[in-house]
Amino acid sequence: MLEGAESLRLWGETLRALGRSPGAVIGGGLLLAILATSLLFPWFTAADPLAQDLLARLTPPCWQEGGSLAHPLGTDNLGRDVLVRILHGSRVSLFVGFAAVLVACGSGILLGLLSGYYGGRLDSLIMRVADVFMAYPFMLLTISVIAVLGNSILNLILVLGLSDWVTYARTVRGSVLSIKEKEFVTAARSVGTPNRVILRRHIFPNVLSPVLVLGTVRVANIIIWESGLSFLGMGVPPPMPTWGRMLAEGRVYITDAWWLVTLPGLAIMLTILAINLLGDGLRDALDPRLRNIPR
């Protein structure tokens, strides 16, 4: 991979290009704000997301009649503060999202590189396994694995990550197939560079951009999947609050207490919007052909 000042310069160029895209700036800013909030909120509130206040059950948000500033975004059916729960839930959702993408990215990139570069039987084997994964409904897979292994955050990350490696593996394999035919790869072979060095030095850095873009978009997907699983009771073990579980629990009260489903839903939507905007900008910034077009 790259080293030193030169690599910084290359990244600097990418960042500058990213700065020229308004979508990426808005998305990146929003995402930074969300991440900062989710990391730093304990400095400002020590409220317990599990603390129940049964006398203040189903209090509406503060701007509505009957609301109070004690619970700015209202309370749920057990009188737990919705704002505090959303803040705590953000940690779980974002952590699971990014960690699962890392697992998926890591395994997908490795298998895609091997499959695309060496080809032959190894390629067939990896791609047929990928076909099986793609043909198998993801929800069914996840639910059965969680049902057998029990639901913990670690299991959830592994299952979500491993059910998503196929996308990365296929993307990487496709890029490798085109990159390995480039003359600079032939040139590396002709100066006697061993295969593993060619993979690391010449192929991997050149297939990284599409994966980076894919990764940002998939974080959003994983967050939705985690919500879905928590909604089904298969996600993060209760009583830990997650955005998905809040949706699931609030569903019953949707006619009386709109805020119980709407507000966590809004949190999910904003996060995903931010990530997608950033991902779109990143795709353009990483493509040198699009980089120097004045906007």
Partner: protein, 346 residues
């Protein structure tokens, strides 16, 4: 005679499948090519696109695995080497590519690209490597300061200089130039050609120069092999080939070269039809369907190589002469320097 490289009966076939469950077919990309290159000599392979000249060059370095044949480099059979032996052998055989944009990794600085051969073959400290890189950059006419730049910060001609520098880092004895100037602007082509000729003399390199450009070939090479449909049809010293082409295909090829003299009358030889598919090459002489001088025998019998004069080989039924026992190449006389670019022009 003194030989650095000797290629015997080199064959590269590609299998292709025609349609679903169709019968496998073979593309005869290179079909029995033999030649030899002496130390310090430039041997050019010319021909139309698709005649197999680049495949030949790649197969000699085993960047493509040949189907059959033998490649002797300094007395060792390159095709019989194990991977480690091949890796070591590649120190001495390098290649300059056609496309100056595709042949450099866009994410590596010039320095990282140029030190790669050293990392693979020599144990040097970082400072020694940097020195060698800077030295080589100067040799190819770039500024040593340029080593920190990325390929996209250079022009096509400069990139080709970097490609040449990479090929020369290990001080090879043989360099394959795969159309090294075809992708360049005409304005920088001459500069790069002069650089190649200059460095060849300075480092004592043999050059296998692959090109479709007859003017370029005339300028740089000592001997020329003309390829048609995967075979060499004629081999001759450069001056003799251009002054007195023997094979009908060579004559047609040379008649297509523009002559910058309005008074000189030229007879154009226009060949009928297209180059046949290398999947079903014609029987007999491969050139007979398009040859203006084809005889009855050309349709049935593959012409054996003949030596109508010293140093010349032609595969054509029109010529008599003894079949060559040895592939002959006139080595530059000991002590004599290769011709200067000006001399080569004649």
């Amino acid at each position: 005679m003194d030989e650095l490289l000797r290629v015997e009966g080199l064959v590269k076939h590609y299998r292709v499948r025609r349609g679903w469950g169709g019968r496998g077919a073979r593309v005869h990309a290179v079909d029995g090519v033999s030649f030899a290159i002496a130390p310090n000599e430039t041997y050019a392979l010319v021909g139309e696109s698709g005649c197999g000249k680049s495949t030949t060059g790649f197969a000699v370095l085993r960047l493509i695995e040949p189907t059959a044949g033998r490649v002797w480099f300094r007395g060792r059979n390159v095709l019989a080497l194990d991977p480690e032996g091949l890796r070591r052998m590649r120190r001495e055989m390098q290649i300059v590519f056609q496309d100056p944009f595709g042949s450099l990794n866009p994410r590596l600085t010039v320095e990282r690209t140029l030190e790669e051969p050293l990392l693979n073959h020599e144990r040097l400290s970082a400072a020694e490597r940097r020195e060698r890189v800077a030295e080589m950059l100067e040799v190819v006419g770039l500024h040593p300061e340029h080593r920190r730049r990325f390929p996209h910060e250079f022009s096509g001609g400069q990139r080709q200089r970097i490609g040449i520098a990479r090929a020369l880092m290990l001080r090879p004895r043989l360099v394959v130039g795969d159309e090294p100037v075809s992708a360049l602007d005409v304005s920088v082509r001459a500069q790069i050609l002069n650089l190649i000729v200059k460095l060849q003399r300075r480092f004592g390199i043999s050059l296998l120069f692959i090109s479709h450009d007859l003017a370029v070939v005339r300028y740089v090479s000592h001997r020329v092999g003309v390829m048609y449909l995967g075979r060499i049809v004629e081999t001759a010293p450069v001056r003799e080939l251009y002054e007195n082409p023997l094979h009908p295909y060579t004559r047609a090829l040379l008649s297509a070269v523009p002559v910058p003299d309005p008074r000189r009358r030229r007879t154009r030889i226009l060949l009928p039809g297209d180059v046949p598919s290398p999947i079903d090459p014609p029987p007999g002489c491969r050139f007979h369907p398009r040859c203006p001088e084809a005889l009855a025998v050309c349709r049935e019998e593959d012409p054996r190589p003949r030596r109508p004069a010293d140093g010349r080989i032609v595969c054509c039924h029109l010529y008599g002469g003894s079949p060559p026992g040895e592939t002959v190449s006139p080595a530059p006389e000991p002590g004599a320097s290769p011709p200067t670019p000006e001399e080569r022009r004649t």
